[in-house]
Amino acid sequence: MSKLVITSIGPASSVQDGGRPGSQRYGLVPSGAMDRLALAAANTLVGNALFAAAIEIGPFGATLTAREGAVRLGLAGAPRNADVAGRAVAFDASVMLADGETLNLGFARGGSFSYIAIEGGIEGEPMFGSLAVNARAGLGSPYPRPLQSGDELKTRPISSAAERRIELPELADAPIRVVFGPQDDEFAEENKKLFVESEWKISATSDRMGYRLEGPTITHLHGHNIVSDGTVTGSIQVPGNGQPIVLMPDRGTSGGYPKIATVISADFGRFAQISAGRPFRFKAVSMAEAQTEVKKFAELLRSLPERLRGIEEFGLNVDALRDANVAGHAVNAVDAATWQVAEPTG
């Protein structure tokens, strides 16, 4: 049995998969990956099921070492400087670590979360059909908590498959699309307009439960208390201070603040990847458009295996890749203790 040892890892990193829907009526939130497309791409690279458990790595770096055999990893999501023994490694590609080799991962660039899938999957005991970490509920396997240095993820011996890369559609730097509701009637038209016409930033105090937004104050028509009702991942609730909070995969299953709008499923992963402090906008779309987009997104997920390419077709120029990764994105270095964004360095 091979294993991947976490030599070092920053906070906000955990084992995640497709989550555990089905028990929200008991207050148990599904959890699961922040960026499902990136999780699915990482898994596809190593021949796993789309939503198999993988490592979700937060904005900071990590080092991962193969022990007791080789492991093959699929890297996707927010790109980072990556190398194995000084050899640069590309994202959206697979890489093999020989026994004893270490993958060094730098800070996330142009995003927040990267996914490292392990060929053969992660050995663990599913609870409600999932290995995803939900620390509050004591769930997650092999560890019911975020990953720490010294943790070991066991996996099966690797196949003799060739390394591969995956061609993903260029993600547009377009506004994050939302549909209004369920409680948009708790807001005056001018406040709904303010919400979709303003520039927003994600606060550094955000986490897997919720992303706090910084921007104009959105005021309520009838106060900020409603009778608690159900939430979804992507619900945008507006508490008393008028600064919206977007509910993320570890949200509470119910909440008592009016929800002005909901991020559409197709854009949720792209939203989750927005770095703290980076300006972005929302755009309201119709239910019909949202439902067309969610079907396209499902089709994109389904088509991932067809998007695999041999690595030799790559003309691998990692330096060029690295530059491409950085282009247009300032690197927001975030202090691990405070989650405060330091001066842009890139």
Partner: protein, 243 residues
């Protein structure tokens, strides 16, 4: 009867969920309709629905938009909602033991003072109540109960506590509740129960269902300690007294 079967509002909760709202307020009649619709969907499933989440006043219906669209699902939900009669369905009834006051219920004395009575009288009123699980939400097993005596209704704390113990029995506004996991709360803490409404590696993991009837019984500290050990060993501790 015509009143109670007025159509609910269908509110979009993104592209993969619909909130079926029967009332904007905490309203027992609305909650019964929520639970009735939930039962009807369970017994006559609609293809594409992935799960339902009953709350005080609405049913959140999660669905797969690849299988069914908002309009088609909304139509079927409306049809079922106007037909789903709240019935006196067979209800499970649980008796939940509570150690009131002292370190188990640090707000009991203040609540008594605020309501110009004694702690014993507060316990008497709280254990006299006939409650129903209106919803379970926020965190695993957090059970919100309707049926709190009007004389015990008081506004929530101005400063919510960041950490309240597992098993807390508290009151807030018109509600009382059983909190399973330690966590933040703005309610007034009357006592603590050894009952775990959510416990891994126990069958069932979740003890209570929305719609279950609940009564509370006061126990002394010694019994509470024994029951805590029993609960840790996987016993329900709560007594199923009906059906």
């Amino acid at each position: 009867m015509a009143d109670t079967l007025s159509p609910p509002r269908l509110l979009p909760s993104g592209d993969s969920a619909i909130t079926v709202e029967f009332s904007r307020n905490i309203d027992d009649a609305a909650n019964r309709r929520v639970l009735a619709l939930d039962r009807v969907i369970a017994s006559e499933p609609i293809a594409g629905i992935t799960e339902t989440v009953p709350t005080y006043r609405s049913l959140l219906v999660h669905y797969d938009p690849v299988q069914i669209g908002f309009d088609a699902l909304g139509e079927q939900l409306l049809e079922r909602a106007t037909k789903a009669l709240p019935t006196a369905a067979q209800t499970r009834r649980w008796r939940i033991p509570v150690a009131y006051g002292g370190e188990n219920g640090i707000d009991l004395e203040d609540v008594a003072k605020a309501l110009n009575t004694t702690p014993d009288d507060i316990v008497k009123r709280h254990t006299a109540g006939d409650y129903r699980v209106a919803m379970i939400g926020f965190t695993p097993g957090w059970s919100y109960l309707s049926g709190l005596d009007k004389s015990l209704q008081m506004s929530r704390r101005k400063d919510p506590r960041l950490l309240t113990p597992a098993g807390t029995i508290a009151i807030g506004g018109v509600q009382t509740g059983v909190q399973c996991l330690a966590g933040p709360s703005g309610w007034h803490l009357l006592g603590c129960t050894a009952v775990r409404t959510y416990q891994l590696h126990r069958d069932p993991i979740f003890l209570l269902e929305p719609g279950d009837a609940i009564t509370f019984a006061a126990v002394d500290d010694k019994t509470f300690a024994e029951q805590t050990r029993a609960a840790e060993a996987g016993e329900f501790v709560a007594e199923l007294i009906a059906p």
